[in-house]
């Protein structure tokens, strides 16, 4: 818990704590950190030890996903094409973290440009799941989830375009929140699919997630999609309990394709919430079956445009001899992008092409509207929706990497949330053998307080968040 860590840092030495962490990181076989900011982190820790300051995260080390811009620290999205790019500016969330005294430890591995569900598409190779190193940590924020679960960082930031925070949180047995679209500024988040994604925390506990949300949420005029309005407190209402809470169970999120252990754990979780005073009923999100297709069309279309800027001209890697413009940038992109990124750029380019735009992109936008309406409709009846985060526990490294469709299918319960723009959290709710299972709790737009309160009540009543993997 970060509150305990903060007390410990005040009483003992931040520098010593950080040195221990870096020692563990150097021994770690998780392949979860990509770049370490050891020097600046230790310098800041020393400073903290001299003068602790009063920030909400004073002295707290934090790991940052590769795709969040950090001034002076390489930001490469785990892609060859961005190797060597050192941003001259901090993302909004980094500014907020620094303002509250947090210490940036380094950057964490991810699927290349956040395109994946397993962290296997990274140019640095796969990150390993701390619970079973033959398995994936989930993705795309697999590095951020693994460092927290593996005990080598107390908390981390990830980004969630179609489940990229919740999936690895679920696979690694920790807490991960995808905030309402617009609640956290995207300024400085390297875009994959800009109409879908949000930055979110990955932590051991719900309270830690609430604390990070207090720091990173809020209006930023540099992001035109950033929601206006007062900053909300997520910590204050956390202990409110779930008495009288109405939970909806979307019937489309259970049944075929869902692992039996997963289904069992989620139903037990629902029973637990019921025993705490909540009630539940079945609801329907009828357009769920179109969500994956719509998501991939929209995400790939946006990606094809968002990734167009990587031509090696201004930053990043530029190998080979310069020839004429088209030959040169084509060669740089051919060398710099991995196969999954290329696949998505090509499919997205196709979907936006003259003659196909209406059939794919526009149609996907229409489906998106229907899915959003499904959620709005459901939230007229219930306060919270509950489902599995992932239909399966963590799979083996290499098991699905050559079968992109089966990988895409794994996102079936997470992508609708991004299409609708609503918040959702994944909290640990059991195990399948040694492998953690995640419960997904979804709320209406800007309903983070209710989501966190429900998750917190569940966490307080269950032991799953206390389980730790044995890793080095």
């Amino acid at each position: 818990m970060l509150s305990e860590l903060k007390a410990r840092l005040q009483a003992e030495s931040c520098e010593e704590y950080l040195c221990q962490l870096f020692e563990k990181i150097e021994k770690s076989s998780l392949n979860a950190f990509t770049t370490l900011a050891k020097e600046s982190a230790l310098r800041e820790a020393k400073q903290f030890d001299r003068n602790p300051g009063r920030g909400l995260l004073a002295g707290v080390p934090i790991a940052i996903k590769e795709c969040i811009s950090t001034k002076g620290i390489e930001t490469n999205c785990s892609s060859r094409i961005l190797r060597g790019y050192i941003p001259p500016y901090d993302a909004h969330v980094i500014e907020r973290l620094k303002a509250e005294g947090a210490i940036i430890m380094g950057k964490t591995n991810m699927d290349e440009f956040a395109m994946g569900t397993s962290t296997e598409t990274s140019c640095f190779g796969p990150t390993k799941n701390p619970w079973d190193q033959t398995r994936v940590p989930g993705g795309s924020s697999g590095g951020s989830a693994a460092v927290v679960a593996g005990g080598i960082a107390p908390c981390a930031l990830g980004s969630d375009t179609g489940g990229s925070v919740r999936c690895p949180a679920s696979f690694c047995g920790i807490v991960g929140l995808k905030p309402t679209y617009g609640l956290v500024s995207r300024y400085g988040l390297v875009a994959y699919a800009n109409s879908l994604e949000q930055i979110g925390p990955l932590t051991h506990t719900v309270e830690d997630t609430a604390l990070l949300m207090e720091v990173i949420s809020g209006h930023d005029e540099r992001d035109s999609t950033s929601a206006k309005g007062e900053r909300r407190s997520y910590l204050s209402g956390l202990q409110g309990g779930v008495a009288g809470l109405k939970i909806g169970i979307p019937k489309e999120y259970f049944g075929e394709g869902v692992d039996r252990d997963v289904e069992k754990a989620v139903w037990e979780a629902i029973s637990t919430l019921e025993s705490l005073g909540a009630s539940w009923k079945e609801v329907s999100l009828p357009h769920t079956r179109y969500a994956l297709a719509a998501y991939y069309v929209i995400a790939m279309s946006e990606a094809s445009s968002n990734l167009a800027r990587f031509d090696g001209l201004r930053y990043g890697s530029r190998q080979g001899e310069d020839k004429d413009w088209h030959t040169t940038f084509s060669a740089i992109r051919a060398q710099g992008f991995g196969p999954e990124v290329k696949r998505r750029i090509i499919l997205g380019t196709y979907a936006l092409s003259a003659g196909y735009y209406g059939r794919y992109y526009l149609k996907a936008l229409q489906v998106r509207t229907l899915i959003k309406e499904d959620f709005l409709h459901a939230f007229k009846d219930v306060d919270i929706l509950a489902s599995p985060t992932m239909p399966i526990p963590a799979f083996k490294i290499g098991e699905r990497i050559n079968d992109p469709l089966s990988l895409y299918m794994a996102d079936v319960f997470t992508v609708p949330i991004n299409l609708a723009g609503v918040p959702a959290i994944s909290v640990p709710c059991g195990f399948s053998g040694r492998l953690p299972i995640g419960l997904q709790l979804m709320g209406p737009h800007f309903g983070e307080a209710a989501v966190l309160r429900t998750a917190s009540a569940f966490e307080a009543a269950t032991p799953f968040h206390e389980a730790k993997p044995e890793v080095i």
């Binding site: 969040i68 992001d223 279309s301 445009s305 800027r309 992109y361």
Partner: protein
């Protein structure tokens, strides 16, 4: 040339704005080192996001209203996707469906001497790309550099219907558009690259060619004239004109093909989700209230208020700075005389020197007109004063009058010269009395000689006549 069909797309930099279209960078980059007016946003650095410059949209609406367009209820931005080194994001933020303004029109003077209505299809906003700087000429350069200072400059693209019938009319349209933009104070045409034109041209019944990125109005006229000749020659030889994009080579004054329709880009336009939809209808009343008096209205007012000839009024209102200059002078000196001297003389002298009206002081013009009105200087002298001022051969009219001896001779001296000349010209006087009016010219010539040309010829004529008749 009624068989020529021309439509224009004009890219106007709204360079009177202080900051760029989607970031806070300054627009005053013209004398700055390359890439010194940039930030993560206009460099398209990973993770940066655009924010709409509201003032730029207001300027766009202002132009839309001045071009008699319909301002849309709401407007939003699209991404236009293509790869080019001057485009750091790999797409340009532009507009597509739902542009700012549609269905406008302005009046121009047609080739037949009558006013013609030219329809405006649309006006939309976009960001300017950076600028390529070739090491040497474009075809021989070993490398090319990019300057992103221009990148993200607010651009307004004005698209006409194919209503123009000749290169001259195209020029007249551009002059009028520029005039309106400067009246609105959204545009400074003196800055390099501030207005760039794509021209579509076809002969009746033929396919069109598009000549891209012509800078300078003379360039537009030349490019279009060349295209007409080229297309006519093809037709004469029974060769079909193909739809294609052409480049205007300013040095050789010709157009060359750069790509055919087959190679046309698919820009994959789709909505820019990083920017919100703008509901602009509600902005319109406030912006309309800020619209200044525009050239056509000002011209009518000048005719009425100052009793000017229409062509003088038109000439004086063709540029806002000239119109303001005129009104300032007219407030302090004879308005009609000022109009003639500014529109006919000063403007010509300025054009001849490629100077703008800012090169001439209002108070100098007031003084010159007052002296002319008071017959203190001759018309020829006034012209000489104007030239000397423009050529910096003197700092004010009085100094030049002294230096060049342009002051009209004192009345006494003229009277004296007249009396002497009449008494010395008995034969001419006799001729005059015998009925030859022309005989006086000889005496006037003598007067001018005696006064070394300082006398006003008309005045001298009057005085000679008086003297002869009295004697």
């Amino acid at each position: 040339m009624d068989d020529v069909i021309i439509g224009l797309e004009i890219h106007v930099q709204l360079n009177r704005l202080q900051s760029k279209m989607f970031c806070g960078c300054s627009t005053a980059y013209h004398d700055s080192p390359p890439n010194s007016h940039t930030c993560p946003v206009c460099l398209g650095l990973p993770g940066s996001l655009p924010v709409i410059n509201r003032k730029a949209v207001e300027y766009g609406i202002k132009v839309g209203l001045a071009l008699n367009c319909k301002i849309e209820e709401e407007t939003f931005f699209y991404r236009k996707n293509y790869y080019y080194p001057d485009l750091p994001k790999g797409f340009q933020i532009s507009q597509y469906d739902y542009p700012l303004a549609t269905n406008g029109h302005i009046m121009i003077l047609g080739d037949d001497g009558a006013e013609r209505n030219i329809r405006i299809n649309r006006a939309h906003m976009e960001e300017d790309p950076g600028r390529l700087v070739h090491a040497g000429t474009i075809d021989k350069a070993k490398y090319t550099m990019v300057d992103y200072n221009r990148c993200g400059m607010p651009l307004l693209e004005v698209v006409t219907e194919p209503d123009l019938c000749s290169p001259k009319e195209a020029r007249a349209f551009l002059d009028k558009l520029k005039s309106i933009l400067e009246y609105l104070d959204v545009f400074d045409g003196s800055l390099e690259g501030s207005m760039r034109v794509d021209a579509n041209i076809s002969l009746k019944g033929g396919d069109r060619s598009e000549v891209k990125n012509i800078s300078g109005f003379k360039g537009v006229e030349k490019a279009l004239s060349y295209e007409i000749t080229r297309q006519k020659n093809l037709q004469r030889r029974n060769i079909k004109v193909v739809q294609e994009t052409r480049h205007f080579d300013e040095i050789r004054n010709i157009t060359v093909s750069i790509r055919s329709k087959v190679g046309a880009h698919d820009y994959r336009y789709f909505p820019e989700a990083d920017l919100a939809v703008l509901r602009i209808a509600s902005w319109v009343p406030d912006i309309r209230a800020t619209l200044p008096e525009l050239p056509d209205v000002k011209r009518e007012r000048f005719v009425k208020q100052y009793d000017l000839a229409d062509d003088h009024a038109k000439s004086l209102t063709s540029e806002i700075k000239l119109a303001n200059f005129y009104e300032a002078v007219a407030a302090q000196a004879a308005p009609k005389m000022a109009a003639v001297w500014i529109a006919d003389v000063l403007k010509g002298e300025l054009n001849y020197r490629d100077l703008s009206i800012e090169s001439f002081q209002e108070e100098d013009m007031v003084e010159i007109v007052a002296m002319l009105d008071g017959k203190k200087i001759t018309e020829d002298g006034a012209v000489q004063i104007i030239r000397a001022l423009l050529d910096k051969k003197g700092s004010n009219p009085q100094e030049i009058i002294k230096a060049l001896g342009l002051g009209k001779a004192e009345d006494d001296a003229v009277q004296k010269a007249v009396r002497e000349a009449v008494s010395e010209s008995a034969a001419a006087v006799a001729d005059y009395r015998a009925g030859s009016e022309r005989a006086l010219n000889f005496i006037v010539g003598l007067v001018m000689k005696k006064t070394r040309g300082k006398a006003d010829a008309g005045e001298a004529h009057r005085l000679v006549k008086e003297e002869v008749e009295r004697a």
